[in-house]
């Protein structure tokens, strides 16, 4: 087991290498010149050339890549072209809201979706089931930004229950303000995950309910509720956890939009601003960072399987 974990961690190195190559190539291939953006609308060709020189953008691509990878290996993700701050520092500044938003979203989604999907499976074909499925289709279909504004309109502007925008750190301002600010973004981002996870839970539990050991449990005289909790859900867990893992990957996209709608100073906003400004080092750094997080999450999910199902051993 330990050997397996070490192997998987070691494997992240070549994977990150490939990701780095792709990120570098894609950015260099896409149109737009950061030097021209920095220089502004009234710059001369010489100005642009001078800035390109300063940024190292006139070096051959191979040299640029080499320089970049070399500094990566020293833990240096580069320096923002515009703010002049190290990318690592920018990420560190912005990481808290994003992490906490992701965490509340996942917790809330799982807490709602798993019971909902299980209930739908248990009552398959009933009105409750149809309602859950309808919600699920709806949840998939509503774009995050539409939902975000609708929620703001209802809960913040009309009912005045919750603040419109912004973020309060629980470490600085306490739990109350944090929760009141994070509620709407969490709801917004959760809807699609609840839809996804509830659907998967329903399918998975329905399948498991047909299994022989569920019949065995009934033959023992076990009550339906306990048959469901002790025998069905536990066995249905592996595909559900897989979907949660996929969900976290999707989350990264959702975070960008949600943070913009709610004006949260997180990594999502950082991505958006960097893309608009063509701040290469930040974009590169963030993609690498997200890839790394994603690989670690996958490892974590694979390890979770071994706790859920004793037949899975690495």
């Amino acid at each position: 087991m330990l050997v397996y974990i070490l192997k998987r961690v070691a494997m992240t190195i070549p994977v990150m290498g490939v990701v780095a190559l792709f990120v570098f190539a894609l950015l260099r291939l896409s149109p737009g010149d950061p030097a021209a953006v920095i220089a502004g609308d009234f710059a001369t060709a010489e100005d642009v050339a001078r800035i390109r020189e300063q940024l190292g953008l006139s070096e051959p691509l191979v040299v640029q890549f080499g320089t970049w990878v070399w500094s990566l290996m020293q833990g240096d993700l580069g320096t923002s072209i515009f703010s002049g701050k190290p990318v690592t520092e920018l990420i560190a500044q912005r990481i808290e809201p994003t992490m906490l938003l992701a965490l509340t979203t996942i917790l809330f989604s799982v807490a709602v979706a798993v019971p909902l999907g299980t209930l739908a499976a248990f009552k398959a074909g009933s009105l409750i089931d149809r309602f859950v499925m309808l919600f699920s289709v709806g949840g998939f279909s509503v774009p995050v930004f539409v939902l975000g504004y609708v929620l703001i309109y209802v809960f913040s502007l009309n009912l005045r229950w919750l603040p419109v925008q912004g973020y309060r750190s629980p470490f600085e301002h306490g739990l109350g303000p944090f929760l009141s600010h994070i509620t709407l973004p969490t709801l917004t981002l959760s809807v699609i995950f609840i839809a996804l996870i509830a659907r998967m839970t329903r399918a998975s539990v329905i399948e498991v309910l047909e299994e022989d050991y569920v019949r065995t449990a009934r033959a023992k005289g076990q009550s339906e509720l306990k048959v469901l909790m002790r025998h069905a859900v536990r066995n249905a867990a592996v595909p559900i956890v897989t979907v949660i893992g996929i969900g976290i990957a999707l989350l990264i996209g959702g975070v960008v939009v949600t943070e913009s709608v709610y004006n949260i100073p997180g990594l999502g906003r950082l991505v958006l601003d960097a893309v608009l400004a063509r701040d290469y080092p930040i974009i590169q750094g963030l993609i690498l960072f997200f890839s790394f997080v994603y690989i670690l999450l996958n490892l974590l999910i694979d390890l979770t399987y071994t706790f859920l199902d004793p037949r899975i051993r690495y």
Partner: protein
């Protein structure tokens, strides 16, 4: 009936509209007395399992509705008690074991806890009290080292051990009635014999009643006190086992008993055709040694040798894990042998590349075990039969004409070529699978448990057909089976395998009359009904 732990009276269970008949079972009358084993025997679709499941209240209640009759147990009608009461009775008064010990246990819970769950539901015992009872129950069913096996997960146990766990679970509360639904069908013969002994033993010790569902008259002969024979949802005959086995009255019962293949091989002349398939020193290992000598290496076949002539049937018999299927797959080159030679008409095909193998493929054809899964459900029968020859360049019209001819050979209507597999019964599908294999004009036909999934009456017909096509097309047939009765009837020679090794081979009659190896003797002795069923 006095002293009956269970009495089913006039039970009728309806099927949903549009099924092939109105009722799954009709007007069922049967009783199980304390200390008695009642076998309900019948083929698939006879309603024997529906009867058993309805007693437990475990039938699929959306499709199967009891519409008439009573199921009496201790003065209570199980069809009319509330759900809560029924749950209380399950486990305490009656319990059930199932056909598939592989899937009947929850794979993610420890077996001890699964037995303990029974006590948790029905008693007030403390956790440690439960554990003591569970370990005692595990000991009672002959499980080795129950204290440590308590913590095992189902996948760590063998099929026989899992069935013992199921039995321990079913009996931990000492119910009056045990319902056993084909509990040994999925097990190897030697394991089957042990489990049957165990059920008989516990039953006698505790004086409980057992309702035993089976399709196998051999099993009936081994354990039944009384027999109930069912056909198409009705009871056609019931009586004391002695009586029914000695002098069956209903024609269906007679047919069922006659269809059980005899353990005595018929006279057979030694084949004289040319040797078409020769296997020399065939070895197959799975897994690999780790760098430091760790890892797992499974020797699935160890230096297997045999030769097969045209017009001859060679049986490979053995239990699960014996390597019989591995040998068949190596011969077909579905898997690659680790070493050894496979000579087909003098040419070694053991090491041929996939490309070089392609033309050889048509010479070796196979009929698989499960006719429900070996035919593509989305293609009609004609397409399935002609696909192979067309791939090898036969014009479609010619392949179709040959398919029609083959349908007649296997006893089906050529018009049925237009139809799809789900429109046929299991036996008919197996006939189609045989026609599909024959369409390639093979030299060697491999039948891999080809009759094991079929009802006995159908099994006999398909065996006759295989024998017939072997002679008609001068085939060399390799017949893989776990069933010694079937092997006795169809094989000219047999080869007994255990743990990847051939322990004995010879003409069938010799091996059965005078087995040389202990394992062969054990296998022959374990065949169900060997003692009482001498049809």
């Amino acid at each position: 009936m006095s002293g009956a732990v269970l009495s089913v009276e006039g039970l009728t269970v309806s099927l949903p509209k549009g099924a092939d008949r109105a009722n799954a079972v009709e007007d069922i009358d049967l009783a199980v007395a304390a200390g008695e084993i009642v076998c309900v025997v019948g083929e698939s679709g006879s309603g024997k399992s529906v009867t058993a499941f309805t007693v437990m209240g475990l039938q699929d209640s959306r499709a199967l509705k009891p519409v008439a009759g009573r199921i009496m147990m201790d003065g209570e009608d199980l069809l009319r008690v509330g759900r809560r009461r029924l749950r209380k009775l399950r486990g305490e008064k009656m319990s059930m074991i199932f056909q598939e010990p592989m899937t009947a246990l929850n794979p993610v819970a420890r077996v001890g806890d699964q037995i303990g769950e029974m006590l948790e539901i029905h008693t007030d015992l403390s956790a440690s009290g439960r554990k003591t009872r569970v370990i005692a129950a595990m000991e009672d069913v002959g499980l080795p080292d129950p204290a440590s096996m308590y913590r095992a997960f189902p996948h760590q146990l063998s099929g026989g051990q899992r069935q013992r766990i199921m039995i321990a679970m079913a009996l931990v509360l000492e119910p009056d009635l045990l319902i056993a639904d084909e509990p040994t069908t999925a097990l190897d013969v030697t394991t089957q014999a042990q489990i049957l002994d165990l059920i008989k033993d516990i039953q006698a010790r505790r004086g409980m009643g057992v309702l035993f569902i089976t399709h196998d008259f051999g099993v009936v002969a081994d354990i039944a006190d009384r027999v109930v024979v069912m056909q198409h949802g009705r009871i056609v005959e019931q009586g004391l086992a002695e009586q029914v086995l000695r002098a069956p009255e209903h024609p269906y019962t007679k047919m069922l008993m006659e269809a059980v293949p005899s353990m005595t091989p018929p006279e057979r002349e030694a084949a004289t055709g040319a040797e078409t398939l020769v296997v020399e020193g065939l070895d197959k290992t799975y897994g690999h040694r780790g760098l430091l000598g760790g890892g797992r290496l499974v020797h699935a076949a160890k230096s297997v040798d045999f030769a097969l002539r045209r017009g001859e049937t060679l049986g490979i018999v053995g239990e699960s894990g014996s390597g019989k299927s591995t040998v068949a797959r190596c011969v077909m080159r579905l898997i690659d042998p680790t070493s050894g030679r496979v000579l087909l008409d003098g040419r070694d095909i053991a090491g041929l590349s996939q490309g070089a193998l392609r033309p050889v493929r048509r010479d070796i054809q196979v009929v698989f075990q499960d006719p429900y899964r070996s035919l593509n459900p989305r293609r009609n029968v004609g397409q399935s039969i002609t696909e192979g020859p067309v791939n090898f360049g036969t014009p479609q019209a010619e392949a179709m004409a040959r398919a029609e001819e083959l349908m007649r050979v296997v006893g089906l209507d050529p018009d049925a070529l237009e139809r799809f597999p789900h429109q046929f019964s299991g036996g008919q599908r197996q006939r189609i699978a045989i026609a599909r294999a024959l369409a390639m004009q093979p030299h060697v036909l491999i039948a891999d448990e080809a009759v094991s999934a079929l009802d006995v009456s159908v099994q006999a017909q398909v065996l006759d057909l295989l024998d017939d096509v072997r002679d008609r097309f001068d085939l060399a047939m390799l017949f893989i089976t776990h069933d010694l009765r079937v092997a006795a009837q169809i094989c000219d020679r047999i080869l007994v395998m255990r743990q990847g090794e051939v322990v004995e081979q010879g003409p069938t009659a010799d091996v059965y009359a005078n087995p040389q190896h202990d394992y062969t003797r054990a296998l022959l002795a374990a065949a169900p009904g060997a003692a009482r069923l001498t049809v």
